[in-house]
């Protein structure tokens, strides 16, 4: 038995690496950083659930990074909570070198990463392309009501859009009153996923019931939440008997909701990316008559960001990669509807005339809503606690009743 214990202790000891955290030299120039990171490998954790996004990353970003900076960009699948769990495990085990260097995150993950002190930064000031980022935009400089403070670099900007098949629904219901009437007339044709996208829809409605656009701005307030959420649950309870599966269950994920929409079981789906309808038509998943709109009361617009793991050993190399992703060149490529259609986080006016012309010449959207028009209906993400409470209370108020 003693031998066995000794073996376990030795195994645990030898399995713990003791590399030191990468120390950054504040005074290093960007040129020196690029030279120092030559030949390094950066592991990037990102959601890989979209063919076009994967194609952009694997066929454009990875080879460009290799060619320009001789950095090997290793892309692995992972997102939000899985990522947080993995990082928490590393941190709890006092691991000094993370298996991940760079992360693609949204506000909810940003909030969680700040809670566990998992992000390196501030670092954006160090990036040469930081000068072009539209930091004046509140949808970019604030993430879920938290100032970004250089702890993450914006990568793209999207707005929740509702997707429908215009062949089946020539005039979609664009406000909550009409939606309720439509759902009653067309039972089991509407639902929303019980995931981040579905909760984003509920947050948009929560803001509406709280009084509109800036009603939930600032820190979480219990009283405001109670009042608005009561109206929200009352509204959903009106819809519930007429929802898909009588509102007793909801799709587990947005891809599942997309599948149900694609096979005609439901007539609406939704996406956090307002241009996704064009992408999915191009992929052949959605019927060509699919279109997207934004409710009159507005939908959440948010940016998605790139962060660096606090205990990564490749912070400088990750910064080089992030700087490239925020470059006019990479942003332009990403914004093309045929590539991804993700709106840029750059202030195009700050770019050279040549780049401004190129951005202006990007072909327009086909079936996705006009970006300028939906901007007027853009709502800012409320504080992350609203999302946590909505998710918990959705279970108590709707699923368990």
């Amino acid at each position: 038995m003693k031998n066995l214990l000794l073996l376990i202790v030795l195994t645990l000891l030898f399995s713990c690496k003791t590399e030191k955290k990468e120390q950054l030299n504040e005074h290093k120039s960007w040129e020196e950083i690029e030279i120092a990171t030559n030949g390094k490998t950066v592991t990037w954790v990102m959601w890989q659930g979209d063919l076009l996004i994967n194609k952009y990353v694997n066929e454009y970003v990875v080879p460009s990074i290799k060619q320009k900076f001789n950095i090997n960009l290793k892309v692995i699948n992972g997102q939000g909570n899985e990522l947080i769990s993995a990082l928490m495990t590393e941190m709890e085990a006092k691991k000094t070198e993370s298996a991940f260097d760079m992360l693609w995150i949204n506000g909810e993950t940003f909030f969680q990463l700040r809670q566990i002190n998992g992000l390196f930064g501030p670092f954006t000031e160090k990036l040469p392309n930081n000068q072009y980022i539209n930091w004046e935009n509140p949808f970019i400089n604030t993430d879920f009501q938290q100032p970004v403070d250089g702890m993450e670099c914006p990568w793209g900007n999207v707005q929740l859009a509702i997707i429908y098949n215009a062949e089946k629904i020539p005039t979609p219901p664009t406000n909550l009153e009409n939606l309720a009437a439509w759902v009653k007339e067309n039972p089991s044709k509407f639902t929303f996923p019980n995931d981040f996208t579905g909760m984003t829809l509920l947050k948009s409605w929560l803001i509406h019931f709280a009084g509109g656009k800036d009603a939930l701005a600032g820190k979480f307030e219990e009283e405001k939440y109670q009042k608005a959420s009561k109206k929200l649950w009352d509204y959903i309870k009106i819809l519930q008997p007429y929802l898909w599966k009588n509102g007793k269950t909801f799709p587990n994920s947005t891809p599942q909701q997309h599948q149900l929409f694609a096979n005609g079981e439901i007539w609406f789906t939704m996406s956090n990316n307002d241009s996704e309808v064009d992408n999915k038509i191009a992929e052949g998943l959605f019927p060509p008559t699919s279109k997207a709109f934004v409710f009159e009361s507005g939908t959440i617009q948010n940016s998605h960001y790139l962060g660096i793991v606090n205990h990564s050993n490749n912070k400088e190399a990750a910064m080089v990669v992030i700087n490239f992703l925020a470059s006019p060149e990479a942003q332009y490529e990403k914004m093309k509807p045929s590539v991804w259609g993700d709106a840029t986080i750059l202030d195009v006016k700050k770019l050279t005339a040549a780049w401004q012309e190129k951005f202006a010449a990007i072909p327009g959207r086909k079936n996705a809503p006009n970006r300028t028009e939906i901007q007027e209906k853009a709502l800012q993400e409320p504080a992350p606690e609203y999302m946590i409470r909505l998710f918990e209370d959705f279970r108590k108020e709707i699923l368990e009743k």
Binding site: I84, E108, Q112, N194, T249, N252, M387, E400
Partner: protein, 281 residues
């Protein structure tokens, strides 16, 4: 020496990770470890026992496990009886093993595409004008009665139990037993209800109980085919460990401890019987 090495290897491969995992969850649930914890607390345990959601998950998992066992055992017993006393068909007996090669997640999707309102059965019913629209097809997946889950477990377990029961029947020389019983004046009904079924179930009771535990912890099939509330205990734990609220992680660990203790308790009761019974054929 070799036996000791084998035991050491077994402990290292199986028992050690299990105990370490259990210890980790236990410490996490009492706030001793974990980035979000701030020291010893019983708060998470109190929250767990006060949570209607958690209690419902436990009972739902038990009900689904029992329901799946019953729906698989009954046809398996009937099939085993007919295959034992009917015309011997070795090809069929081999086919019986086929579902065992299909992963549960695949079975989950197969059942979904078979039974959903836009699935194969709904389309056939619509084509045959049995229903006026595919949406009129009854709700058989993600439904309140866990029909989809039971169907998937039936697909996986019914052939397996049939195979096991056939092996037990052969080992216990059931054919000869029936001849003796009939000679002594036992009716066919009495033979089935008082000899065949009790004998088979008694010989397979440990295996059946172990499969019950497997069903109690099932994940993929209930995830695809089950309702979101109530949900299986495995899904409850996963959601608490990986969803938006980091303060709920300890709650997930507390439930993992409860789950492990329940499984340990059941296994301890089962193992009170002779371990040799674990392999009934």
């Amino acid at each position: 020496m070799r036996a000791k090495l084998a035991i050491t290897a077994y402990i290292l491969i199986t028992t050690t990770p299990l105990l370490l995992g259990f210890g980790y969850s236990l410490l996490y649930s009492f706030g001793y470890i974990g980035l979000m914890n701030k020291g010893f607390t019983t708060e998470h345990w109190l929250k767990l026992f006060e949570s209607k959601d958690a209690i419902m998950s436990l009972f739902y998992s038990i009900l689904v496990a029992l329901g799946s066992l019953i729906t698989s055992l009954v046809p398996a017993l009937i099939m085993a009886y007919f295959l034992t006393f009917g015309k011997q068909n070795t090809v069929f007996k081999k086919i019986l093993l086929l579902p065992l090669f299909v992963a549960p997640i695949i079975v989950g999707f197969l059942v979904y595409y078979m039974l959903s309102p836009t699935g194969i059965l709904a389309r056939i019913a619509f084509a045959l004008h049995l229903i006026s629209s595919p949406n009129n097809f009854p709700t058989l997946v993600n439904d309140s009665f866990a029909f989809g889950i039971l169907a998937a477990h039936l697909f996986l377990l019914f052939p397996l139990f049939t195979f096991i029961f056939l092996s037990i029947a052969k080992k216990e020389r059931i054919i000869e037993l029936k001849q003796i019983a009939t000679t002594l004046g036992t009716s066919k009904k009495d033979f089935i209800t008082k000899i065949f079924i009790p004998l088979i179930l008694k010989k397979a009771d440990i295996l059946i109980a172990l499969y019950g535990l497997f069903l109690f912890g099932a994940y993929e099939i209930p995830l695809i085919l089950g309702k979101q509330s109530p949900r299986m205990v495995s899904i409850f734990i996963t959601e608490k460990l990986t969803k938006f609220n980091l303060n709920d992680i300890a709650l997930g660990h507390a439930m993992a401890v409860v789950y492990t203790l329940l499984v340990f308790l059941t296994i301890t009761i089962i193992l009170r019987k002779k371990t040799t019974k674990l392999i009934p054929f």
